[in-house]
Symmetry: C2
């Protein structure tokens, strides 16, 4: 699903007196480096970035006027570079090793072939606009302004995606005797039980900082929030669902509330039940109609004349203040060169090492560190002969969770009530499962997906067929699903790759603070384009921005 | 938005020993009559209704074979009756006073005319598939199996509707100094602050019923749930949003957490922030592509030969074991009669009184009581020259809330990034506002909508134009938005209308426990059809089901 799943939780102390230093350290501990950095900017100790205001206005700043830029990789990042640079009169060429554009923006349909190192699968699904599988990014958060802006400008039709479904299942082997529960029940009974505890704290006067009047207001609020009764007890709520739903002439019978201890035993439940409130996961989530690769195709329509497919860059060498790009045509095997003033490397760090470069030793080391930190997520999709999740279970889109290895099951948001559907049957990434399942054959992954699916849906293996699986680690020219910096590597390696190494610049999702997201790829690319423009403009006026 | 907004909150005592009687009384107090009824069925004191298993199988139970049924009203209820009865070989006629079908299932588009008693508006919007306004029902909850089943069977294309948007605004004049806040901030900071209080209660050992081990598990859970720090304090979360969102090379700076006392002062906030967790409001919500009246049109295609439009029923009289229906053709003014074995009255109780009937005095009184309890919701929609909520605010679908009279602002879920859009700019119903705004002229309602909209969006009155407003109370042959029984009227009046009054049966949303919902209309109608079939079958075999 392509996201930072464990969000930074930073924040501010607004109650207790603290020194500035204690404050920063405390936030750093609680929230990771990002929070500490943010705090520093808030305190005026670091510059504050402006809010996103559209693609860089390169032409308005003088443009390129023939400055030559080579771009390695025609993923979203590379095509954004081509689009913006060409519009600002740069001479841009994009070298793409594969016979297609989009990179990890990839949608599979019937007739496609999935090539991993060591295996080949043919996707045998029916050909139908609704039968597709986004193997890479699958969501457009509503606040990802850069990619949404391009979708608007390029005319990519968007639709609403169900990311959270209160009727989907949460299954944790350690909770509820291993019984899958509807999300609505877990989410709403948790709120009620926690509110009951909070009301008890208020009733016991545990917060002496509040006035009597404020205490009364807060207590009333907590009672409404948790739907507590007159004695501040949570006794269940229709929000949690019904043992018998209301019908025509019959009222409903709500379920008995789940026990908080039982909920608390499910180690995966805090993540799963609050998933839809993770910043990047919050409703609404959008998706291109018919598959995520509509975005790649839309960029390609505008940039194809700058892109050379099957062009594998084999060597980068400094040449004057620029660089020489050597590339091999993978169809003719001919080797060619192109000399550029700047080179933007947008391919994943996992595959940069395959290029013979004269990056500085420090940069080479940082590339290796970054490459070592990738997430190796693995997805398994199935075609279903009928949309049994809708017909039999009333599940329309969204995600079920399980503590078993498949972790998630995604139901399609489009094609409602259609004849068939594509189900994401497994998403191996949590708990180090990515590398484990990447090391398996497609058949082995599918076998686990079928077995684990039974935990959610008895008879599952007869309900799905025609599997298709992608382990990004094994996909040539990708080598991983998304970058995942930690506090140390962000500081020691990422920061090394941010400034240019002579003529070499790095862009792509890995060069952003929105790792795994197409938005991150675009924003990181915009940043590089702005810096290149600054340099070009400065060289023109004789000043030096660095 | 067509819903029961203050849901029944019932539940069960599962901790303390109680007598059966105390138990029932207590649940009744906490949750209203519905909960008590549900409890009685759960305890085996009332029959338990079976789960929904599709439309009634009338033909399998013998069908009608020429039994004549008159249906008053061609709303969803009347057309369901026509569809099912005709399929089971009943002779069915539907008398519809208006020149259209659908009843309150009504979608307005450019060129339409809105007639209220005392005013006429022409809708001057551009004609475009995405520019429509659902004046009545607007949502299909995912668990409304009956209407979703008909959508599937009748081929009504459905799409996902954004009901809850974490980026929409919650505005309560009493909270945050009157500043609109994004929903994500209120929702997530509330959870954190309440969890912090709960952790304090746990830490103080306030729950002596738990073992030490369970206490530790619950405390860990509450910490994860509220994203509390190591000292169980809530210091903010990225879930609540960023003061500066993360960009390319820059991490984000989370917002400072809102103060719980400030949140608690917003009297509307518990409803607004938990709106998406009300049972009928939970994601996913579906909607017919292009407008809710796609459902009415789909029913009409299958039932039009049984429906007489412009046929105003003026009199009902018992005739033998059946009844004589007298109706006036509103185009020719000719008066005609039709004699039926059964009459199903599906029109709102607000307009039943206009028919000269020989209902029993008890039924007539119950009709009057029911008619007096209707909600008189009023909507105001605008066309916008551009989709500024998307372009300027990043709001894609969903609902903003305000404590001002307009209560809600709805953004369209379809037509994303299109040229124009239709915005629901006001939904007057809470706090007795329905009758107040129904008594206003359209111009007066629009003036309030424009003024209140400024509280959410400065410059609002220049961003929208071409208003269209509907006060259901004033719409001929409707007389109200939806029925709203309370505990007393449900017991004293609704129950009187449930059994047949000789040949007369009542159906429609008001005859269900899903008031305001099309699902309720369908389920109530199914119930009546099943009872009619029982009677017909019994008469055939000589037995008596009553």
């Amino acid at each position: 699903m392509w996201s930072c799943l464990f969000p930074v939780s930073g924040g501010f102390v607004n109650r207790d007196p603290l020194t500035r230093r204690t404050f920063v350290n405390l936030v750093g501990r609680a929230g990771g480096a990002g929070a500490a950095y943010g705090t520093l900017t808030a305190m005026g100790l670091l510059p504050v970035p402006p809010p996103y205001a559209g693609p860089p206005k390169l032409a308005q700043q003088g443009g390129g006027n023939g400055v030559k830029v080579a771009v390695i990789g025609a993923g979203i990042s590379g095509m954004v570079a081509a689009l913006e640079l060409s519009a600002a009169h740069y001479e841009v060429r994009v070298f793409e090793a594969q016979d297609r554009v989009g990179g990890r923006n990839r949608t599979y349909r019937g007739g496609d072939v999935i090539n991993e190192t060591g295996s080949t699968q043919r996707v045998t699904w029916d050909r139908d606009p609704d039968l597709y599988f986004n193997a890479g990014p699958s969501r457009l958060p509503h606040h990802h302004k850069a990619i949404l802006g391009y979708c608007r400008d390029l005319g990519v039709p968007l639709q609403v995606m169900v990311n959270e479904n209160r009727h989907a299942f949460l299954h944790d082997a350690a909770a509820f005797g291993g019984r899958p529960e509807h999300a609505r029940r877990v989410v709403n009974d948790t709120r009620g039980a926690v509110a009951e505890l909070a009301a008890r704290a208020i009733g016991a006067g545990l917060d002496q900082r509040l006035s009597e009047e404020d205490l009364a207001i807060v207590r009333d609020f907590v009672r409404a929030y948790g739907e507590l009764d007159a004695s501040y007890r949570y006794r269940g709520s229709s929000k949690a669902g019904y043992a018998e739903p209301p019908g025509g002439p019959t009222p409903g019978r709500p379920l008995e509330p789940l026990d908080l201890v039982d909920i608390a035993k499910g180690g995966m439940l805090p993540l799963a039940m609050l998933f839809g409130d993770i910043y990047e996961m919050q409703a609404p989530i959008l998706e291109p109609t018919g598959g995520m690769d509509a975005i790649a195709r839309a960029f390609y329509r505008r940039t194809r004349r700058f892109i050379t497919l099957n062009a594998q860059v084999t060597q980068l060498r400094r040449l004057g203040s620029g660089a020489r790009v050597t590339w091999r045509d993978r169809t003719t095997q001919r080797v060619r060169t192109w000399d550029a003033d700047h080179v933007i490397v947008t391919v994943p760090l996992t595959v940069v090492g395959a290029i013979d470069t004269d990056f500085s030793p420090k940069v080479k080391a940082a590339v290796d560190v970054g490459a070592g930190g990738y997430q190796h997520a693995v997805k398994v999709a199935f075609e279903a002969k009928r949309r049994w999740w809708e017909e039999d279970y009333g599940i329309y889109g969204g995600i079920s969770w399980t503590s078993r290895d498949i972790t998630q099951m995604w139901y399609p948001s489009a094609g409602i009530h259609g004849r068939k559907g594509i189900l994401l049957g497994a998403y191996f990434w949590l708990g180090g499962r990515g590398p484990v399942y990447s090391a398996m054959t497609p058949e082995q992954r599918v076998a686990v997906a079928l077995a684990d699916g039974e935990a959610l849906f008895p008879g599952y293996r007869d309900l799905v067929h025609r599997p298709a699986t992608v382990a990004w680690k094994n996909v040539p020219f990708q080598g991983g699903a998304w970058s995942a910096w930690d506090e140390d590597t962000r500081r020691d390696a990422y920061s090394v790759l941010l400034p240019p190494d002579g003529p070499y610049w790095f862009a792509g999702e890995h060069m952003s603070h929105l790792n795994s997201w197409q938005e991150g790829a675009i924003r990181a690319t915009h940043h590089v384009l702005e810096r290149i423009q600054e340099r070009v403009s400065a060289q023109r006026t004789g000043s030096d921005p660095d």
